[in-house]
Symmetry: C4
Subunit: 204 residues, 4 copies
C-alpha cells in the first residue's frame, strides 16, 4: 500500500521547519504521522531530516514492521509506535535533537520541571501559567524495546504525564492529534527548554 | 465591515518578521493595527503568528468585541485595546515572546532598567544615550481585564512611562504610530534585552 | 549629480547581509561607499538598514554635506567622512551594531585586545595568528564632530592602529578598499568578538 | 584537465550550507572533493566560502600542486591532501571555523573528549552512545607542511583516531567517503561542540 502524498509532504515540511531551528543535526531526529488506525508513515533511517527526499518516508505497522521489507525505518521507530499504540488520538510524533534538550537532559535528574511560563498553556489540562509540567528524562538505550518499556511504565505510573519526554543526551519526543499540533507543541517545549538553559547560566 | 487588504498584509508580514527572530514560538505573540478611530484589526487566536493565513486577521472594537462573533480574537486582545483607548496616536501594537524577554522578566523585580545603549534614542523624549528607560514588569494574569487595570494604573502613576512593558514569563508589548515604527521599536527593545541577558551572564 | 546604480545596489546588499547576522537592529548601523575622490554614497537617516529602499542612499562630500539638502544623511556621517579624509585608499565603511560589540564595548576599558585567532590574518600587516589586534573603544558622544576628533587623535597617536574601532554601547566601525573587503573585515571582527564574549562567559 | 560540473556544484553548495550555520566567516574555511585517485578539487584562496563563484574551485594533485599555476589554492591545501594521501577512501574534506570550535580549541589541552551523546553514533566503529570520541587539538602553525607532519604523527600513534581534528583558534577538519557524509559528520561534530560549550557555561 502506498503513502498518501499529503503524509509525505507534511513529514518533509516538518523536517524543513525543524532544520531551520537546528533541531535535526546530521541524521538525528525523526518524524511520523498516523495514516490510519494501524499504519504509520515514518522517516527512513539515515537521511538528514531537513532534506528528506520524496522516497524518504515509509510505512510501518503499529509494531514497527516495515510494509516494504527492503526499506529500513528510523532507528527509533519503536518509540513512535509506542506512542501510537498507547494514545489512539495521537496522529503525529516528532523527535527533535536540539542543543538545549541535549544539554539539559545530560545534567538533569529523572525529570525537568517547567513552571511559570505562559507557553505552558499549550499543554492539555493546563489552562493556566501557574501550573507546572514535569518532563520525564529517560536514560538512553540502544535497545529501543527496552527503552519503550520504561517509557510505558512511566505512563502507567503517572496518569498526568505530559505529551512529551526527554531521552538523556538524545533529545525530545512530543506528540499531538495532528502534525500542526505536534510542531506547535515541539516549538513551545523547545522554547521553554531554551529559557531554562539561559536561566541556569545566570544561576549556576 | 471588512478588513482592508493592506492591514491584513501588514499584520501577516509583521508575523513573518517576528518569526525569523524567534519571537512568536508556537501560538505565542499577537499583532494588531488600528484601522480607524475605533476599529482594530488583530490576529485571531490559535494560529502560529509566523504563518498567519489570509483569514487569520479579524476586526474588534475598542472594547475588544468581535465584529464577527463567530471568530475568536487573540486572548490578549484586551491589552491591545487598552493601548489604543489610552493613546489616540497609537496605530500598531506588537506582543513578542522572546527568550530574553521571558527569562529576564521571570528574574526581574517591578522593572527592567536599560541604560547606556545608543538604541535608547529610538524612544520618544530620549534624544541621548545617556538617559535610561525603565520597562515595567507586570505579573502574568489569565484575567486580562485585571491585568489591563494594573497596566493602566502604572500609566497613571508615571507620565514618563515608555511605550512598552513586560509581562512576567510572557513577553514584551510595544506600540507606535504605525506598523513600521512598532517593528523598529520591538527590534530595538529585544536587542537591548539580549544585551542585558548577555551582560548578566558575565556578571551574575 | 546622481548616484551610480552599482553603488546603491552594493549598499543595499550590504545592509541585507548585515541584517541576516542581526547587526543592524531597528535603525542602527550605517553603510557608505566612496564614489570618487570627494563624493561619498551613504545610507539616509532613519531607515532599517536591512531594507534600504531604492532612494535610501544619498550623496555627501568629504565634510558630510549633503548634495541634496532636502535629504538627511545618517547621524554618523561625520565618522564615515573622517575615515575617507584620513585614508585615501578607503572606499567602503561599515557600522555594525551587534550584541557582542555592544556588550563587550560597555564592559571594556580603552581597548579590546584580540589574540590567538587565525582570522587575525584578515588584518593588514598581520600575516600570522600570533600577532594581536588592539581595537580602540571610544566613549559614545552625540556630538559626532567631537567624537571624530578623539578618533583622529587616536590615529595620530598610534600608526599601527587597525582599520576598525568600537564606540561604547554603540557598535563597531570598519573600513577597507572596497565593499567586499569591508564586509569580510566586519564579519571577521564580529566573529572574533563573538568568540571573546563566549570565552568571557567561561572565565568571568 | 577541467573540473566536473558536479564537483564544483557540490563544493559551492557545501559552502552555502556551512555559511547558514556561520561556519565560514570572512574567508575562513575550505572545502575539497577527490575527483579521482590523485586529483583533488579545492576552493581557491581568498573567497568567502558561502559565495564561491563558478570559477572559485581549482584542481590540485595529492601533493597540493595546482594544475593551473596561475591559480592560488586554499592556504590549507596541504591539510586536505594529507587526508587524501593517508585515507584512500576519503573523498571529501571540510574545514569549518565556528565559534564553538574556535573557543573550545583555544581553551583545550591536547584533545577534546565527547561522551554521552547519541550523535557519536555518526562515527565509524562507535555503534553506541556509551563510547567516547577524543578529538585531537593541534597547535596552529602558518607552516602547513609542519602542521601536517604533526597530524600524521598523531594518526600513526593512535589507530583509533576519529575522522576529524581541531586546530587551536582555527577550527575543525572532518572527512568522509563523500560530500554528503562529510557534511553530516561536520554537522554532528559542530552540534556536540555547541553542547560542550553550553555545558561548560553551566559548570565553569
Amino acid at each position: 500500500m502506498s503513502i498518501p502524498q499529503q503524509a509525505t509532504d507534511a513529514i518533509r515540511a516538518a523536517g524543513r521547519r525543524m532544520d531551520t531551528f537546528g533541531w535535526v543535526p546530521a541524521t538525528a531526529g525523526n518524524i511520523s504521522l498516523r495514516m490510519d488506525a494501524d499504519r504509520i508513515a515514518i522517516t527512513r533511517s539515515g537521511f538528514h531530516k531537513g532534506f528528506i527526499p520524496e522516497d524518504g518516508v515509509m510505512a510501518v505497522d503499529l509494531d514497527g514492521r516495515a510494509e516494504d521489507s527492503a526499506l529500513r525505518p528510523s532507528a527509533e521507530t519503536g518509540l513512535h509506535c509506542g506512542i501510537y499504540r498507547r494514545f489512539p488520538n495521537a496522529a503525529a510524533a516528532l523527535h527533535g535533537h536540539s542543543v538545549p534538550a541535549t544539554v539539559l537532559s545530560r545534567l538533569a535528574g529523572p525529570e525537568i520541571r517547567l513552571a511559570g511560563y505562559e507557553l505552558l498553556k499549550a499543554f492539555p489540562g493546563l489552562p493556566t501559567h501557574q501550573a507546572a509540567v514535569r518532563l520525564p528524562v529517560f536514560e538512553n538505550d540502544q535497545d529501543i524495546g527496552r527503552l519503550q518499556s520504561r517509557v510505558t511504565q512511566a505512563w502507567d505510573a503517572d496518569p498526568a504525564h505530559p505529551p512529551g519526554y526527554l531521552i538523556r543526551g538524545h533529545g525530545l519526543y512530543v506528540w499531538a492529534e495532528d502534525m500542526p499540533g505536534a510542531l506547535l507543541r515541539l516549538e513551545a517545549l523547545e522554547f521553554m527548554l531554551s529559557c531554562e538553559l539561559e536561566t541556569r547560566r545566570l544561576r549556576p
